[in-house]
Symmetry: D2
Subunit: 361 residues, 4 copies
């Protein structure tokens, strides 16, 4: 009998339908199917591996996920320390704050009459609505808060920790900002100027001259120093955008100053963009290896899917499979309230890079 080709090793195992399957069982049965279903099952497995390794896990978040109903999923991942550091667009933090302040987004239609919406001052995000008036109230709330700060530049990490604290004190409600505050998880927002949080900050200047200064370059230094302090990292990206790039940049920048840094050990991304137009959001994890953003032997997977489908399934599965791993996980311990953050008792400066041309911690 003819020998089988070396390429034919593991057969596809058709998905078997059964009543009562839990999310993790569904994903387990998707491991040996094909295409993006397989990739999503692989993402589940890779995330479990991350949790068993001693790595700092970055979570990147772009797209209208907070408005779209995933903010408590992200809050859950943060609070239970599936992740150690969030990098987000401003909009996601803003829409989170909107709901944590007790306001809502609403079910809408993508076929709405936008002129009628505009007349009613309703803002549409595809099939989701929000009230412009409530948004203005948020802007004012942020502006007011910003005027209570010192008249000096704040990194987004420091500012967002304080904002989360103020939000927690004021509302006592669960959300991304409040979960990160309570769990001492740092948040970076590299494109804060391109969001309503930035708009709120800009309006602070109207109230108090010299208010609303953000040291965005300090965020670069700080995020790279975090990688220098803890050179083993992992990256989970939802939707590309500036968070995806900023997480990779932290690693690349850290590598300039420390021989210990060698790219993310694990990488998973859930994206809808594609590689062939050359944009960073859709860029492949293979391409990331050429840049040294990923270790050559990293475990990695791209899932081409809308996060509003993939994340509820993935997070529900992890809620079942991850708790034992979370219980024994070695997590980095942060202090975030000050101008200079610390990790595991060591400072993470934002004024200059730590140069580490000897073994790191």
């Amino acid at each position: 009998m003819k020998k089988k080709s070396r390429f034919l090793q593991t057969p596809i195992e058709p998905f078997a339908v059964e009543a009562g399957l839990t999310a993790d069982q569904v994903l387990a049965r998707m491991e040996r199917i094909s295409f993006q279903g397989r990739n999503l099952a692989t993402a589940h497995r890779i995330w479990q591996k991350m949790l068993q390794d001693d790595v700092t896990i970055f979570l990147g978040m772009a797209g209208a996920l907070s408005a779209g109903g995933l903010r408590l999923v992200v809050a859950h991942l943060i609070f239970n320390r599936y992740v150690d550091c969030l990098v987000s667009t401003g909009a996601n933090l803003y829409h989170d704050l909107h709901e944590t302040r007790g306001q809502r987004h609403y079910l809408g239609s993508p076929h709405a009459d936008d002129a009628a919406l505009a007349a009613d001052r309703i803002d549409r995000v595809y099939d989701t609505y929000a009230s412009e008036e409530e948004f203005i109230s948020n802007d004012n709330w942020i502006a007011e808060f910003a005027t209570t700060l010192e008249l000096r530049p704040y990194t987004t990490r420091e500012f967002l920790h304080l904002l989360g604290g103020h939000l927690w004190t004021t509302t006592g409600r669960d959300g991304i900002l409040t979960a990160a505050y309570r769990a001492n998880v740092p948040i970076f927002c590299p494109a804060i100027a391109d969001s309503s949080i930035g708009m709120g900050l800009s309006q602070a200047r109207q109230i108090k001259a010299g208010a609303g200064y953000i040291d965005i370059i300090g965020d670069i230094v700080e995020s790279a120093n975090l990688v220098i302090r803890r050179p083993r990292t992992a990256s989970v990206v939802l939707g590309g955008g500036t968070p995806k790039n900023f997480i990779n940049q932290a690693s690349v920048q850290a590598e300039f100053y420390s021989d210990e840094v060698g790219g993310h050990r694990y990488a998973l991304q859930i994206v809808t963009d594609v590689p062939h137009f050359g944009g960073a959001s859709g860029s492949s994890l293979e391409e990331a290896q050429s840049w040294g953003k990923l270790a050559a032997d990293s475990a990695k997977v791209s899932v081409q899917a809308d996060a509003t489908i993939a994340l509820p399934l993935l997070a529900s599965a992890l809620a079942t499979t991850a708790p034992p791993l979370l219980a024994t996980r070695k997590i980095p311990v942060f202090t975030l309230a000050g101008r200079v953050m610390t990790v595991d008792g060591q400072t993470v400066p934002n004024a200059r890079f730590e140069e580490m041309h000897e073994p790191a911690v």
Copy 2:
């Protein structure tokens, strides 16, 4: 206090993560989030509604779903009469036959060396491999079977029922063709000439002159007559392609000959193509209304997702929620073994359209 806008009715309810959620519970929590997650949850609800109504449910299937590990999901939907009639590409039926005959597809990589695969005679479908030799054995098997038939044209519906029967007799294994055979569910394959099943049929002519004739135009007549006999219909489409259009065409064609026909009452599609390039696969269900393919008041939803993610979740949820509905469902009863099929005891001819300008059944 100011009155709330009429547009702000139902708040988004953020997805709440919890351990042990079953597939249907996950989907239930996705009903009030946004974007494609909400659409998938809506698809679950619409399918349940279809099962409670007295409609003939068509299932269209394009894309490499059989090779990709979803053939037993489709077999399950057919065997348990979630659907009443399958319209498929030839490839999906062929890859189903391949596995039902005891052969496998294999896990592969999208980054494979295709020249090396070609040298080993391995055919690649994105991240999935199959043996060309085994494919040739299928072609021969189909060709041999075709030579046992009468020397006359067969509709794909008749041919595929007989093929399913032969496959069931030979293998006793579960699959799409065998499930459809056993459950007396008709299968149409309008583009059979564009598939390896067609190739097998063409090779029958090499063995026996005059073998391998398919009456593809008869399929049009038959599918339209089926709608004329049972004018209330529903459409479930996975992946677009010729099946999507053929299901709509059956309705449009039937409308020429019967006043009772008024477009599908329910429509759900899981597609990755988009509307804005004008192709039929990605065309919107709104557009379908202009053609009369859909009733004006139909319940409908498009889910923009890879079926390998959406279908395992959706079918797992239905396996829990649908059984009571299936138990009381009024299903059309077919006889399929003959040249002329019947539904509910009435003939469904393929030689001419039934003209029904009075109330239908």
Copy 3:
């Protein structure tokens, strides 16, 4: 000085804007940019190479290109023998016939009120409208024509040639079907049952029993025999779908019966689908190599773009650059009016494959 990496050979040459550039000059300046722009420029070059080689050039056409205003581009490519054989969806041929018969498609809006359109019996294809009544008149015209044929199965190739002839005689107008008729270029339509041409054929049975029989399996044999007769082939694909696969299938099927066949020597595709969902429309040309659909050393390029942007630019460029190549091109000469077509004086049977295990023509 350090040696430059072997990977850094040819610099990107930024596109230089200039007034009065012709289409071919625009494409020439796109050859050394990146992403899909470079790919489109490469497509221009590869098509020129095809024209200089002794290959049979297949053109595949899917998506609503005829309704969308590209039918005279395709007619031009056929009539001037940029291509030798067309494989099309039925819809493209039908919409071509619609306009050749003197009717029109109309500018519309993707945001139309589809209920209002339905009330006016206007069918919408994204941003394009057509009159349902005129469509019904086409169906009747096709049905009438079909009743004039012999009561025997016709391959789509034979039927479409006769249809084109009838259309030319009746209208004297330019279009795809009439250009193919006049230039003796064969047309295959593997999914004819999934189109209004098929619907017209099915309605012929209402007028005359036994009319409207299509031998779709004969098309498989015939197209493969064409490749067996002329084993050097090239493939140009617009939009994927059944035409893309049928062209590849002809090559794969031919290879079973002739040692001379080794996959297309040139392949270019303009598609909007992507590879990562596993569907055939978006499948990569690399993947096609694993199947032997493409020669290992083939010149190939995929352009990810809407054909309504890419084709006008590409065809306009070729209209300037190709004429000298067309003038000296060796074209296959067909006779198409009979039940058995010929190429270069040799028969191309549809009743059985030509087995050629010695050198072909």
Copy 4:
């Protein structure tokens, strides 16, 4: 005779192929075809209209367009004042600087061996390569320049104008930064922290304590004040991302402080993202109306295409059609060298918003 439906007004005019057509002639013939081809032709017409109106034209630029060979197209649009203000990602400005400094990007392959590239320290952007060493040299160059500035926060607008000036003085070469410098066109870069320009700035702190401070919130104030000063605006967006949102945000923010502002009067975007996943990059221009980002009666078009195909064709056409319009165009006149910019002789502060609840200029 029956009256024609009101929906059937303007027939599709099939594209007629002809040798020697110039880019603008190609686009003119695409005006009455369908799908994205029609949209690109409409974009050409809308841009011409913008040039004839008294509006401030914003250009947004995301995606790897500079590396991908379009930087001189953008430089051309800036220098000839097709646009008045650029909003860009940092990467595009960085890759522009890279080439203006005499270095190159290189033709590469999307199927490259990324481990081999990493070993050679070559960074890949899909099908384009660059040398990491040269990138490090840029970072140092930027860092050195940043240390020559005052120890105070700079808006990106001020910083990038000075950087462009330094680049022009040093190299005398054409590019985006140098063209903007020479033409006195402001550049905003809201996500500068997420780019190698940000990395260069961060490294300045290693050389000189207190260097590299950017006042990103000042950019918000300044861009909104620009709209307050000149409330009639237009938006041209290439590829979405932060630039798209920042341009819209400037308008929304300005509206808080001035009754004269009413959304962009013209909007065209060339994007590859889609609306149905809810992300801002792919969001529709209809949706933008609900937010007041666009005037209700604005002229607008979205082109779903890769900019590397669409922009060379569009810019080549404009190079022929626009010069007479440019000659008579009323352009805003900026001074950009100082901490506070001016437009048409009026200051555009970044420390507080101009409140204008009476008619603006």
